[in-house]
Structures are given as C-alpha cells and as structure tokens.
Symmetry: C2
Subunit: 382 residues, 2 copies
Amino acid sequence: MPSAPRFHILYRITPDDSRPIEAHAKDICLEETVEIPGDCVPPAIWEAGIVGQVEAITPCAPPSRAFDVAISYRADITNDSIPNLLNIIFGNISIRRGIKIIDIRLTPDQLRAFGGPRFGTAGLRAALGVHGRPLAATAIKPLGLSVQALARLAGGYALGGLDVIKDDHGLMDQHFHPFQERVARVQEAIRNANAKTGRKTLYFPMIAGRFDQIEAQMDYARAEGCAGALIAPMLIGPDTGFHLARKYGLAVMTHPSFTGTHFHDPEHGITPAMLLGRLFRVFGADISVFPNAGGRFTFTPDECQDLAVAMREPLGDVKPGFPSPAGGMTIEKIDSLVAAFGDDAVFLIGGALMRHSPDPEIGARAFITAIEQAVSGGKAAE
Amino acid sequence: MPSAPRFHILYRITPDDSRPIEAHAKDICLEETVEIPGDCVPPAIWEAGIVGQVEAITPCAPPSRAFDVAISYRADITNDSIPNLLNIIFGNISIRRGIKIIDIRLTPDQLRAFGGPRFGTAGLRAALGVHGRPLAATAIKPLGLSVQALARLAGGYALGGLDVIKDDHGLMDQHFHPFQERVARVQEAIRNANAKTGRKTLYFPMIAGRFDQIEAQMDYARAEGCAGALIAPMLIGPDTGFHLARKYGLAVMTHPSFTGTHFHDPEHGITPAMLLGRLFRVFGADISVFPNAGGRFTFTPDECQDLAVAMREPLGDVKPGFPSPAGGMTIEKIDSLVAAFGDDAVFLIGGALMRHSPDPEIGARAFITAIEQAVSGGKAAE
C-alpha cells in the first residue's frame, strides 16, 4: 500500500503519570488507529503510515506541565467522512484524561470534500441585503407556547427588523407545536412581515427528527421557503444535519446542545474554537451559535475570541461563517459585543427581548437601533 | 394544555458558586426546557408543567459538597425521540460545570417506545446455543490490513470457538478495505468456519457510513447474514444506528468512541452506567462495549460494576443486555473478569489474542478454555 497525504492534529497533553511525554504521544498514535501494541503492528502497516506519527513535541510555558504534540494521520483513513474523522482524532482517547485538541489542520482536498458553509458570511448578507453591521437574531420561545403565539412572535420580530429568527432549540416535533404546523405558520408570519417591510428576515427552524423523519423535515422546511436549518450536530448525528441541509439547499445554523463536556475541563476535550468553530464550519455551518462569556455559561472571553477567529479566518477554499454569541446576551451588552466581535457576527438575544417589551416589534426595534448606534459610534470614534 | 406523565433525572450537583442549591436546581429546570427567566414564563406554561420540576434535594455525605437533585420533566416533551431526550436531560447544561447525571427513570410508556434490545442476553444466547458461561469476543484488526488477512483472522477465531467477532471500530469504508468487500469476505470466512465446527459464531461489522450511506450498509450486512451491527452512537448520531439495526433485524453492539468527555470528570457529564448502560440499553444495545478498569482507560471498578448492573437489572419491559468489558483485557485476567462480571457478560480481548499466538485459532482456543476453567473453578468452589 503506497503512502498518502496526511493531516495534522495538535493535542495539548497534560500527563497524568510520570511516563515521558513521548510515551503519551505514542499511545495516541496507536490508540486512534491500529489499537494494538506497537510490537504487534505488521511491518507493512508501519511502512504505509497507517499508524499516527508524532511530528513535533513542544513543552508549554511554565507553570503549565503540558506539552503540545502534533500528530499526523493518513487523510484517506478518514475517507472524507465526519464519523470517521471524529473517530480518528478523538475516538477512544476521549475516554482518557489530559488530552485537549487545540488545532486541526486538514488537507486542501479534505477541506474541499467536507465543503464548508454553502452561503457563508457573504452569501447570507447578500440574501439579507444587510452590510456594514452585525446581524440581529432571536429565538422564538418558550417550549409549550401555541403555534399561533409562536407565529405572532416571529411576525413581530420580523416587522421590527430582525435579520434572523430561529426556533428555540427545544422546539422539535411535540404534539403541542407539531413540526409541520409550526414551520408553516412561523414562515408564513415572517413572509407576511417581509412583504410589509420590504426586508428579508430569514427563518431557521429547529430540525431534529429521528433518522426516519429528518430528511422529510428538511425537505418540508425548504418547500415552505425557510432560509436555513437550525441543527444540533451532537443530538442528531455529527454529519446528519450538514448533509441534509446541503442536499436541500438550506443555510446552516449550528447549536451547541450536548457538546459541553468537551469544554468544561481545560485539560481534556476539544476547544470551543476547534469543535464549534473549525469543525462545524468545515462541515458546513454558516452560523455557529455559542454561549458567550458574561452570560449564563462558562466560556472565557479568550475562548469566544478564538472561536470567532476559527469561523472567519482564511481556510483553503472554505468560506467564512458567522460566529453567533448567545446565552444570556442583552441589549445593554451590544456595545461590548460590537467591540468584541466586530461586524461579521450574528448577535443572538432571546429571553432579554421578551423582557424588554411584551411587544416583539418594539424589542426588535430596540435591538436593531442599539446595533446601529454601536456601529456608528464605533466608526465615528475611529 | 392538560398536564402529562413525567420522567425523572437525578443530577449530582457540585455548586461552583455560593448560591443555594435550590437556585442551581431551578437553573436546570428552566435551562433545559423554556430557556427564559422564570418571571418571563407565561402562567399557562407553568401550569402545564412544561418547566422542569425539582422533586427532591438530598445533600451527599461529607466531605462531598454535592447534592443529589431529582428533577422531573413532562414525558411528552421528549416525543419518544432520542435527540429530544438527550437535549432535555443534558443539552445546554452540558456547557456548565458540576452537573452529573447519576440516574435516569423513564416512564413505562417511554421504555416501551424506545424499545430496548431486540434480542437481549437470552436472545443472543439462543442464537449461539451457549449457556452457563460468559461469551468470548474479539475484534479483527488492525486498520489497514487487507480484506483477505482480516477474513483469515475471522475464520481462525471462529474455528477456535469464539462466540462473537467484531470489526475493530476504526474499520469503516476505507479504500484499502472497502465496506462491502470486507463484510462479505469476513462473514463468508465465519460461515465456512461455522459449517466445520457446527457452532454459530456471530459477526458484528462496524457500520458508520455517512447519512446517505448507512442505511444501505445496514441492509447489506443483513443480506450477507451478519448477526448484528457494531455502532458508535456518538459518531453516527445517537439514534441512527439503533433505528436502522431495528429496521433491518440486526442485533446491536455499541462502542463508546467519542463519548469519553462525559466520564473523565467525576463532577460533570453522564456516568458510564447511565450513558453506556441505561441509555444505550433502552435505545437498543444488546451488547455494550466499555473500557474495563485495569486496562488502558480510566474507568474505576465501581463504575464498571454500575454499568454492568445498568445493562442487566430489571427495567420495565426492556430486556437485559450484555456488558462487554474491553480495552486492554488479557487471557490472564479472565478469572478476575468472571469474578467481577459473572456469566452474563461478553469478554472482549483484542490485541492480547494476537500476542498470544500468530495463529488466531490457537489464541481463540486458549481464550475459551480459560473461560471454561474459570467458570468451572468458580462453580466447584461454590
């Protein structure tokens, strides 16, 4: 078997025993590929480069005890498949400790095969006709509200000028707001509002059906004229939503539900930048929602900045996508959001809009006005 | 909206701030359902029980600072859907800290809807004709070996008397051992061996294709006569493999790849017993592979025992399944495996069989002999 191009993963390893770092690095190379002791690996398998290869080991600056270990794998092991890629980079070793993925460098061919966002920042801005400011988004909620009430909320938010309306991610296919009825009525309310305003508010319904339902749901959302799909990759399967959204021509907004055990321990898992940023973008996220620092969750400001960079930095032929800070954001925080994330972001404010006013149109207007003021204030100050 | 039956989750909460435990408990109730501040929740939503409800708060024994908090949710919110259930019990709160799911009590209707193992311990024993001892399993490996060599290994293991042969979970659909050719040749080798021995070794190929491939793979495995599917729920989607295996009549062996960030921190995530045991069993696992204590991974003996209990204890109409200790097991450890797990387990020894002998038949025979001796020794000592 001839050798093949390789991709690179940077692991930050915090050793939990006294063995040398080289032994920990070699463990990963074997565990993530051949899963047998090194002396049992047939020579032809070694020669073909099937086993992971340690490319560099760099100690972190004290007082850290950690090392940054670059390991390369044959790209054709992953077969351009998301399940396969996740298995190789963090399958069995997820069940260890002290291993954090801090960088992921795929080959140009892999990037092309996974494909990245279909629309990206430029495509979504063109669809909206909005330039030169961050986008304003909200979620219709709460779970349990009638379809009529959800549609009224959506219509009001659209009249008030929001750019993106998504379902709260807990709205799936419950009998009190069935998927089809909800998607049809909410999209209708937004369409009617758009006809009045001349704008184009985009709707991202939550699509999370079982394996046998989800393709029909994606097709239904497209047929109703929805712009995109809100998907939670770890709930429905890491490749399911990306694959179907691409097939049906929908933009993708990703939600981090059920991903959090990768983040709470700085020494183990995958960083928010690499999982919610790099990987979700490469897989197809036009917008990646994440819990911003200062809200109800645990991300640090640095982690949020790194995630925003991962969504937007140059990356082969992959388009940039929008980072979407959320999770306890308020209108009062917009100045600091603009300062932190600049224009190419989607600010997601949910509960705080409901608190601002019982009339969604008023809340939406206040939100958009605050963004415009923050942007023009920032530009005047330049 | 009338009220509805509720299911119960027991969270062990280790507070990371000085707020009272009641505040942490209420956070979860809101975060996992309505996702808005309590004072924004419409009265009808409260009255319908849509918000999670704290049922009990019990302090853990000192020196632990933790509390066990029982929270109930309306069963119809989950819609008998795996993505929906995972979102409600640990969606957004996965992105916090200090929250561990230690018990999951679904309603009888939910258990019936999810369905559990199709075959269970009794069904797989009947298919094998093996009773009164643990089952012996191995994996064909390593990644990169030719299909012919993999088939030779499988045939030898079957001739030597192993009960279950699975693919190493890294074998997916790589061009050097394509899915169809691999499954057909390996199953053929096992069929030929079975014809010689008069036994019935069962083959569980790894099924991990992309969304658009995986159903055809499941169908192919069934058509070739495979007994079951090896699936990694977190790689292909938590409900994908269970759904398809049920549709095509295959038994299910689950693999824990990419689940491990739930386990490495005792204060956050879902315990191995609840994720790899209770949930995977309820979703349909006939056999749940896990990394046993004393091998290459981090589970404690207690965690492994709890997982075995979760696979086998009475649970409504749900059949018991086999716990399958793996991850660095050896023939020398079989006495202790029998002592720890008794008869209703599938012992999975991989690399150590290759090391025992270059002839797979010899390794398999030694494995089975060791099990039979351990069981008869244990029974003689009773």
